[in-house]
Amino acid sequence: MLILSRKKDQKILIGDGIEIWVVDLRGDTVKLGIKAPKEVKVYRQEVALEIQAANQAALSSSLDLPFPDVEPPEHKTD
């Protein structure tokens, strides 16, 4: 693993299309700017992991669907 030190506004370039730079430093929080080609998806790791965990939990759902005890309103999507 490569470890680099950067000061505020200094950049790291990854390949041709990805730029990462330090926008701000405050306490133990680093604010990063990220520029990447559109086919490269950039997420916070914990969000992607949370959605993975939610997908996993959804798989073990009861097959017996509860009928909501409130009438669904007319919805507008279709």
């Binding site: 939610a54 759902s61 909501p68 999507t77």
Partner: protein
Amino acid sequence: MKLDTKAYGPVEIEDKQILAFPRGLLGFEEYTRFALIDAHKKPFFWLQNLDEVRIAFILIKPSIFHDDYDPGLSREDLDELGNPEAADLLVFAIVTIPESGPMTANLQGPLVINRKTGKGAQCISPKDEYRTKHDILEEMAARRE
């Protein structure tokens, strides 16, 4: 064609119900072919994998319980789906029904589908207000008040 489903056993489905999720779902990247089936109870749907019967998700349309849901799809998300017109874009949330505790829906990682091409993807909403566990019945009840 006949499809073996987790919820209902063998079910007859039509070609138009078949969807391709080229990237799969998060944590389930290897499962890419699904069918969208009406659940026997409204307002739910089943997203049943074609290759593995145990891979099946319960879906709900967010508009059923959450006002003005807008996942904030990026240009790239829409490109991936082939830039559907608004009328062809379907948005679903995956439902979790735990053994105990409330039934919840994931509004942070919605499933979006281009109805015209049958292509779908799980997106990650950039909006902080959406979480992976929205209490469906609580939000419906709050909305009625």
